[in-house]
Amino acid sequence: MSRGLADPVFVHDQSLTRKVGRDSEAGDIVDQQLHLLGTQLVTHLNVLLKNARSHGGSNTALDRPVESIGTLVHTLGVDQPVSLRVQEGFVYLGDRHLRMTTHDAPIFASFVDALRSVGAGGLVLRPDAAADLRRFADIFVSILPGDEALERIRKRLAEAKIETVTLEAPRSVLKQDMPGEATARGPSRGLLTPVQTAAAALAKLQGRARGAYARAGTALNEVNARAAGRGTISFRQAKRAIQNIVDILLKDPSTVLGLTTLRSHDVYTQNHSVNVAVLSMALGNRVGYTKAELADVGLAALFHDLGKCAVPLAVLNKPGEFDAQDWEIMRTHPSEGVLKLFDSRGLTRVPARMAAASFEHHLNYDNQSGYPVLSRDWPQTLSSRVITIADCYDAMTSARVYRREPLPPPAVLRFMLGKAGTSFDPALLKHFVTCVGIIPIGTLVLLDTGELAVVVRPATERLLADRPVVRIIADASGTPLAPIDRDLRDTDADGVYARTIVRLVDNTEYRIDMARYVAAPVR
């Protein structure tokens, strides 16, 4: 893929958690949590460096840490690299904050100091790193701490042709707004300084949103991996990610809603579930849920398809149409999700909204269609109705294994409106349309200037519903542009609109992935 101005800056994350459960040993290690493995990795790296300092890289004292690190990296990452990062004294395994206990504290502190001493911000280990660990350790401890230590180490590693272990530079702290920071006495005097411009604030918010979105997906994968086995499921990481998303949503819903345009073919379930969570929370915000309730709804929506862990992959990933038997299996996933929650959490700790989300999200509003087919009336709870709408919208706008062609957002909305009162709560559906916009976020539009643009923010004024904020992606000649946002309500001095939508374009017809433009950072 050629990189150009219009290309996004996304980098394939070296997060390990997507790999967990995908034919990895970690999926078989039922009760070991990622935190435990990450802590072990930090511990053995500490031992490796200390022993190298004391005895040299070729000493047998390094045998055990080398072997252990090799095993851990393979376990955590399978065939992908594993990263450990240090930021503001916290240690991260991929993007996952490794929570510290009193027992771990000295070990973590030692690791942090070791990296800091050479000016490094992180360490990346490839699955085949074991062969190079001794030489790496030798080089690492041989360089004296100092301003250019990191560069010197990197140079020595390159000279030694060591590519399986890399040191990263520190990342800058992501500065952000703190709530209520402006005071009569002046600006915030906390750790993080306030942003100076609205554009910069938005960019930072978008960065936070991407991070929170990614973490939600990571947490989802972890839970699904554990759900496939047996053992207690903790939703803490997911909860933290969802709470972050709620914070951003309450500041600027469009920022997070834009991320729901992400469609990934081979990680459909992950993106889909996160999108459903985001859409559900956005809709829930409109109907009056409190902040804490929004997080609960979001968490429930994130795991509404938990039951699919019991559906055979051969069915889940079947290309082409389902036959009757496939449907019969697929239709069990709502109930399977409930049972999985019982199994892993026990009765008292089953999150009720989450169980309802799993059980009810295919039930349909009219209580007469959908599944599971019940022997008695079962009205959906409000949050389930919210999630049902979000689920359908995202599913239909996605390309999935068994239905490769997604539908453009406006078409999906129209379809759903046709089902108001049967499949969907009509009042909630109206709220949803307001939420995503009559011309929804992610819609590709042709402007009267000949430019091609994508809707990134729905219209806020009822009477100007056709004037959302759009992101121009190509000029009239068709040349891709670095994305730039324009509010279609903008007029010139004479009050004439600068730009007007003349046509909604079916992006699926041209196979254009709107996520490239909606979810990308913008100037």
Binding site: G190, Q243, P372, A427, D466, G478
Partner: protein, 586 residues
């Protein structure tokens, strides 16, 4: 304390010095309150006093400096580089570490912090209101409090986003084109009514746009009626009985699902549910779950024999020792659980539960609960008595008395021998109940089980047993009495006790006791002379009442062998007999 250590180092810079000193006081008070909360709880007077100090100091600080934002490190809190709190050596007892370990990097207080806000902060630190669970930590709890005056920055907030969102590669969507010219051209043609193909999607979108352009966003406006309905639904959701709802889902699954495998899994989650409900002492809910399992197959044709057998096995497992033990834990929960449903639950237990149920009874405190357990053991023990009888050896008096009541209720005379063994029990109440129990189970006949109780250390027990033996309904040959008489010298007993004993001996042993009394008649010597004389005189009385030849011969021997008063008494007794005999002949 932590903050006091921090005060050893004076702050740098004059202008900020006062602020730092004040901040140190705030965190000193927070530290004290936090520790007191952990040790004593929020409602304790010590905690309350510290809390008031904290509230006061925080208010004063924020009144002067409206924002207090500290950076959190593993062992310290710092205000613009100055340490305002330092944890103690054990990191587990450090407020800073508590925050840092869960990923809080900055903590911030703003003017207007209320008492409720501070309480919420303490609760978030220690989860005092709710039991901590695996889904929460300081960050999630603090977030959920939604405080406007206390905020924080977490590890996730700090982490520079790595833009880790992956776009689709190799799926439906194509790589981004080098030019959109063809797209624009085609769409422009279609927009102007040209020959360009108009897809259904675009067409529908045009209609939608037109509708939107019409300005009357008809159909998308939420009416007041609809808003009210949503508000009602939201209110309903907030008040829903969550556990009941979740159990209803399970019930719906059992009664509606068609997949045999899924039904097996649904049944398989029930044992753990039973455990939880037992532990919680929620008998009613447990009975509902059992009923659900029992009736599911009647309403779900997909349930086959396998499922029915599985369900039966699960229901029967209520009686396994592990579950019965959980029942006991639920019974003794604090605060006590309502009793509703308990008798019905106990009625479902099978004899397999008897042994474990005895253990539950042993540990159960409330009389009302014990009464129900006794009833259950009465029913179950009638089939399998052994665990109950074995448990009679337990040292706890109240428990054994309950068991005696159970045993007696069976009305099995064979149990008398078991109750007899309680003569050596440490608890006098047990021994007293054992005597009553023996009497209840055996109204006459072999009185030997009672003999040991006639020598009991407790006067009432002795009196009861002796009285029963003296009533004339029981037989107990002297061989049963001898070991006790040898162990218990008569000299130690009061005159009344001796009298009662001899009456009992007389009524139950009869002639077999004559040699014993005769021996008493012949006892002489200066040591314990008075006691020996008393014993002898009582023996004479007993022999006199025993109108047998052996008694007569013993009295005659006593005339020759005993002490003076004894010989006199024997002679008088014999004389009395002769007179009586003469009167009868006359």
């Amino acid at each position: 304390m932590g903050a006091e250590q921090a005060q050893d180092s004076p702050p740098q810079g004059g202008d900020d010095a006062a602020e730092v000193i004040s901040a140190r006081s705030v965190f000193r008070d927070l530290d004290k309150t936090w520790r007191a909360t952990r040790t004593y709880g929020l409602k304790n007077t010590v905690t309350t006093r510290f809390f008031e100090q904290l509230e006061g100091q925080t208010g004063r600080h924020l009144g002067e400096w409206p924002v207090l934002a500290v950076v959190v490190d593993a062992a310290e809190l710092r205000l613009r580089g100055e340490i305002v709190y330092r944890g103690e050596d054990s990191l587990g007892e450090s407020l800073a570490f508590r925050l840092y370990g869960d990923g809080v990097r900055e903590l911030r207080f703003e003017a207007g912090v209320s008492s409720a806000d501070l309480h919420a902060l303490l609760d978030a630190l220690w989860a005092t209101d709710n039991a901590p669970d695996v889904d929460d930590d300081v960050v999630t709890r603090l977030w959920s409090k939604d405080l406007t005056t206390i905020s924080f920055v977490s590890a996730e907030d700090i982490l520079q986003s790595p833009s880790s969102l992956e776009l689709q590669e190799g799926g439906f969507f194509a790589p981004p084109p080098a030019s959109f010219a063809a797209v624009i051209e085609r769409e422009l043609r279609a927009a102007h009514g040209g020959p360009g193909q108009q897809t259904a999607a675009a067409g529908s979108a045009a209609e939608q746009l037109q509708q939107a352009r019409g300005g009357g966003v008809v159909g998308f406006e939420v009416t007041e009626t609809e808003r009210s309905a949503i508000a009602r639904a939201l209110a309903l959701e907030r008040t829903i009985d969550e556990r009941g709802r979740v159990l209803s889902m399970l019930s719906a699954i059992l009664t509606s699902e068609r997949s045999p495998d899924l039904l097996v899994r649904a049944i398989a989650v029930v044992p753990a549910i039973l455990d939880e409900l037992l532990l919680a002492g929620d008998w009613r809910a447990l009975l509902d779950v059992v009923a659900m399992l029992e009736t599911a197959h009647m309403s779900n044709p997909a349930m086959g024999l396998t499922h029915a057998l599985l369900a039966v096995r699960v229901i029967d497992s209520l009686s396994v020792p592990h579950r019965v033990t959980l029942l006991g834990a639920g019974l003794n929960a604090d605060p006590p659980r309502p009793i509703a449903g308990l008798p019905q639950l106990l009625a479902r237990l099978s004899p397999q539960a008897t042994g474990a149920l005895c253990g539950v009874l042993a540990d159960t405190l409330l009389p009302e609960h014990r009464a129900h357990l006794r009833d259950a053991l009465t029913r179950l023990g009638a089939v399998d008595a052994e665990p109950v009888l074995k448990a009679l050896g337990h040292p706890r008096g109240e428990y054994v008395r309950d068991l005696i009541a159970v045993v007696v209720s069976w009305k099995q005379p064979q149990a008398v021998d078991v109750l007899a063994m309680l003569a050596g029990h440490v608890d006098r109440g047990v021994r007293a109940d054992a005597v009553k129990g023996i009497a209840a189970l055996r109204g006459e006949g072999d009185g030997s089980p009672l003999v040991a109780f006639a020598f009991d250390g407790d006067a009432e027990v002795r009196a009861e047993a002796a009285s029963l033996l003296a009533a004339g309904r029981y037989l107990a040959p002297f061989d049963h009495w001898r070991p006790h008489l040898e162990k218990q010298p008569l000299d130690k007993l009061s005159r009344n006790d001796k009298r009662a004993l001899f009456r009992a001996l007389l009524a139950s042993a009869g002639d077999s006791a004559v040699p014993y009394w005769q021996a008493l008649l012949g006892e002489r010597g200066w040591k314990h002379r008075k006691a020996k004389e008393e014993n002898a005189l009582l023996a004479v009385k007993a022999l006199e009442a025993l109108h047998t030849a052996a008694a007569h011969a013993a009295l005659e021997a006593g005339v020759k062998a005993g002490s003076g008063p004894t010989r006199k008494a024997c002679a008088a007794a014999l004389s009395g007999r002769r007179k009586a005999a003469a009167q009868r002949q006359g």
